[in-house]
Symmetry: C2
């Protein structure tokens, strides 16, 4: 396969954005796969803060990241991210929807998702990324997708690039990726002459 699927492409972007020693956030720990991947990228000198509102997810993640003291787990909402994360951060990753193998009635919701995305972009360092993998096939997923898309399309292009990576000939609403990059500040001071 020449074209990368959405999840491997998301990982490739994280590899680009995150270096050893960085601080990063897993906004939806889920079963901890991304948390562990991020811990590998930051190394023991970095910091990974992982959020989930479900006890089950926090426990699964705790088991998976044993031996990686750079990971801090927060059993709570990513909408309170700024209380737990000391920025700037190199990357924040969201996997919206429900916990795989968990209760499919417990889903991320537009309001808290938008609050968390807003906080994430405030925490980003220059050239840092917020990566949002959007699943919209489940009930309530379409509404959340529309709310997120409306929000990210309006992000000012002077400060952010917003990219969408999507397979468009598939049935059954496959996941797609939205990536937000914080642009470096322009140098306001110019040398005369």
């Amino acid at each position: 396969m020449t074209l990368q699927r959405v999840l491997p492409f998301t990982k490739s972007l994280l590899e680009e954005a995150v270096s050893e020693g960085d601080t990063v956030v897993d906004a939806t720990a889920g079963n901890g796969h991304d948390t562990l991947f991020l811990a590998g990228l930051t190394g023991p000198g970095g910091k990974v803060i992982a959020f989930d509102i479900q006890e089950e997810a926090i426990e699964a993640t705790r088991l998976r990241v044993e031996g990686h003291p750079q990971v801090k787990l927060v059993h709570g909402s990513h909408a309170e991210m700024v209380r737990h994360v000391d920025g700037p951060v190199a990357a924040v990753v969201f996997n919206l929807g429900y916990l795989p193998k968990g209760d499919h009635a417990i889903i991320t919701k537009s309001d808290s998702t938008l609050t968390a995305i807003e906080q994430s972009i405030g925490l980003l360092k220059e050239n840092g990324l917020v990566l949002i993998v959007i699943y919209s096939g489940h009930e309530g997923g379409g509404e959340e997708r529309d709310a997120v898309m409306e929000y990210v399309r309006e992000l000012p292009q002077a400060f952010f690039d917003v990219m969408k990576y999507e397979f468009i000939n598939q049935r059954h609403s496959p996941p797609f990726l939205v990536a937000i990059e914080k642009k470096p500040k322009r140098n306001k001071q110019r040398t005369e002459g």
Copy 2:
């Protein structure tokens, strides 16, 4: 910058898809930049067939690819691609719109573009790519974009993956990429047991 712009990302995909000795097509030679890039990827043992309906573009490309005998220039429509190309091909690239620095009234048109895309996917080898960079800011561009998008969304997912890569918070209709990959044939013969 962490996220690749549309044109560098398109080149990265060509680097993935094209190996030395391959046959590839530049469906819109323009000023010959992509043709030269492709000639570098196929090497002298490969073949690059480049099309343009404008004499001016063919001459500009001829100058740029001097010393690369693997390039064959066709002053004619890419809608007649199958008459000039002996497949299978590793990649076909389209830059839709008008010739940069040329007459902006001469543009690619929906009918011939769709014919050429249809022929391209027929020529593809397994895991080969058709890459279409779509500019829709110019007059007539919106119509062509809509026709192409309608066509590619309907390509059967059993045989093709269709991906869209787009920056979505920019004004002034920036170019975006559509990539079509031909899937490998499934092995129909299964071993019993």
